[in-house]
């Protein structure tokens, strides 16, 4: 285990940010802390980095208890959502900061900075100031700066949260590739389930300061442990106590075994998929996901009567 979190709790006044959180992160893995805002995911990451001190519990990095160690002694690299760029320094100076603080020889620093500039594809921008970079470039600089000191653990706090959708996707894929090359133990905080699923080996889903479930992307989606996991990871219809995914519903034009009558309320075309909004005869509202071909074959129209059956449903008690 590269990072071990044991029974960590943290309060801010009356607000309970973390409660009884325990977690293991394996060496060389990429873990995502996923959850809605206020779920405690950022606080947990900041506790690991030493930017917050937990009220209870302990944190170990590489087997060493670092609960009371300042951030400087933890060997972590931290990437901030809003970049935290050193505004009065050039890109090269930003990246060199950790090495200069460590008083490394000049040639070594220069060599390492060039290496990192290439890694994050910022060659030629070394002499620019952060204000002259785009958001995506600034965040890549932030990553290079964190990686410069060869951290044992790389921690990213919503690193792509302030970027537009296209740049986000690019950087996300790039981060995964980078991780596959460097194998630095990485923890990324995100509220975007797609991002977590695309990037991480292990997802830690948090809610209200507690961990709801830990598992691989597929685990969480296919075997949600709680109602919260079911509704937060992927979409879900709720009817009474039963949950069903939109793509686990099938539509037919005539009744089949186990199907129930429903009326089409609205059709939403989303490129290759079509979302059908239904009201069942008992008043329950359902959303069904079909491929475009399936929808075309059924020739669906609003106010049409169809029959809906669930191939898979879950009840949480």
């Amino acid at each position: 285990m590269s990072i071990t979190v044991r029974n960590v709790g943290k309060r801010f006044g009356d607000f309970v940010a973390l409660e009884g959180v325990s977690l293991g992160v394996e060496t060389g893995s990429l873990t995502a802390l996923l959850g809605p805002s206020g779920s405690g995911k950022s606080t947990l990451l900041r506790c690991i980095a030493g930017l917050e001190t937990p009220d209870t519990g302990e944190i170990l990095i590489s087997g060493e208890d670092v609960t009371d160690a300042p951030p400087q002694q933890r060997g972590v690299g931290f990437v901030f959502q809003h970049y935290a760029a050193f505004k009065h320094m050039t890109v090269a100076k930003n990246i060199a900061f950790g090495l200069e603080v460590r008083k490394r020889p000049k040639e070594e620093i220069e060599h390492r900075v060039n290496e990192l500039l290439e890694l994050v594809q910022l060659q030629g921008l070394a002499k620019r100031y952060p204000a002259q970079l785009s958001g995506g470039q600034r965040q890549r600089m932030g990553l290079a700066r964190a990686l410069a000191v060869d951290p044992e653990v790389l921690l990213l706090d919503e690193p792509f949260g302030a970027l537009d959708a296209r740049v986000r996707k690019e950087l996300r894929a790039w981060l995964r590739r980078l991780h596959d090359e460097t194998h630095t133990t990485t923890v990324i905080v995100t509220h975007d389930q797609e991002e977590a699923m695309e990037v991480a080996d292990q997802i830690v889903l948090m809610n209200r300061g507690r961990i709801e479930q830990i598992g691989g992307p597929r685990d969480l989606y296919e075997h949600p442990a709680t109602e919260f996991v079911m509704t937060f990871v992927g979409e879900a219809n709720r009817v009474g106590d039963t949950f069903v995914r939109p793509h686990d519903l099938t539509l037919t034009l005539s009744p089949v075994d186990g199907s129930e009558e429903a009326r089409v309320e609205r059709l939403v075309h989303l490129g290759f998929e079509v979302r059908v909004e239904l009201v069942r005869h008992d008043g329950a509202e359902l959303s069904v996901q079909l491929s475009r071909d399936e929808a075309d074959q059924l020739e669906l129209e609003p106010r049409q009567i169809v029959y809906v059956a669930a191939s898979r449903a879950r009840v949480f008690t």
Binding site: P71, F78, A85, K87, F97, A131
Partner: protein, 264 residues
């Protein structure tokens, strides 16, 4: 268009009447009989000593208030401690309090019958009617300026850069020197200019604690006052012009050294 023009003219007239006019008058009266005359007025021993004393006090008070002002600002913005609200309010006290009251308070504390005065006198240290009390009074009066300039800048830059520096291995002194100080340097510079201007111009508090001994504890402002009351208008104007020139030089120095690039 028209209303904007009249607004501009009103603003200009106002500035002319309350600011530029009096300053120009002082310069005019000091220099109306030529530079030689002007030089004669300030080159006497008492005037030169007064100017030197004013500069000396500023040279002590400004660095002290700069260092403590920055430290106080960091404490107010970055730390949590009991009584922070009171500390924050107390910083403004010199702005609210009349300098004369400050002077009297120092007399009460360090004077011959004061609480601490005898203790210092026993050890051969003269506080009031001497340089120490004048420096103390000036420090007190000019304390808020660095804090009031630096606090908003510190709030605005936030502490993320400092946190980033700490995760990169920088200790608190390294973080301050390499990250915080460069980020607040213009706030500090403005604070220093205001502190210097206030120190050079201080009259009320120093008037009370100095004893006004000519050639010994008479600062430039006290000299101007004494000269004016003594019907030596030329001397008063001349020293006033020198004081004003020092301020102008400081202001120009600021804008020359201030780079035009780097924003956001």
């Amino acid at each position: 268009m028209r209303s904007r023009l009249s607004l501009r003219i009103t603003a200009l007239l106002y500035l002319l009447a309350v600011l530029v006019g009096p300053v120009v008058m002082v310069f005019y009266r000091a220099l109306e009989h030529g530079l030689g005359d002007f030089w004669d007025s300030i080159s006497n021993g008492a005037a030169l000593h007064a100017l030197w004393l004013t500069v000396l006090i500023a040279l002590i008070a400004v660095p002290l208030n700069t260092v403590f002002g920055v430290a106080l600002s960091l404490a107010i913005v970055r730390r949590k401690f009991p009584g922070k609200g009171i500390v924050n309010a107390f910083v403004d006290l010199p702005l609210a309090l009349s300098p004369v009251v400050v002077g009297l308070a120092l007399l009460l504390l360090y004077g011959r019958q004061g609480w601490l005065g005898p203790w210092f006198t026993d050890r051969g240290l003269q506080i009031v009617f001497a340089l120490p009390a004048m420096v103390l009074a000036t420090i007190f009066i000019s304390l808020p300026f660095v804090v009031r300039e630096v606090v908003p800048v510190l709030r605005e830059i936030g502490d993320e850069q400092e946190q980033a520096a700490s995760t990169l291995g920088a200790g608190s002194w390294q973080t301050f020197r390499r990250i915080t100080l460069p980020a607040i340097r213009w706030g500090v510079a403005y604070g220093v200019v205001l502190t210097a201007a206030r120190s050079l111009g201080e009259f009320g508090a120093v008037n009370v604690v100095s004893g006004r001994i000519q050639g010994k504890t008479e600062t430039a402002t006290l000299y101007i006052d004494a000269a004016y009351l003594d019907f030596d208008q030329k001397g008063a104007y001349a020293v006033a012009v020198v004081l004003a020139l020092i301020s102008v030089v400081i202001l120009i120095g600021m804008s020359v050294f201030r780079p035009t690039e780097e924003t956001a």
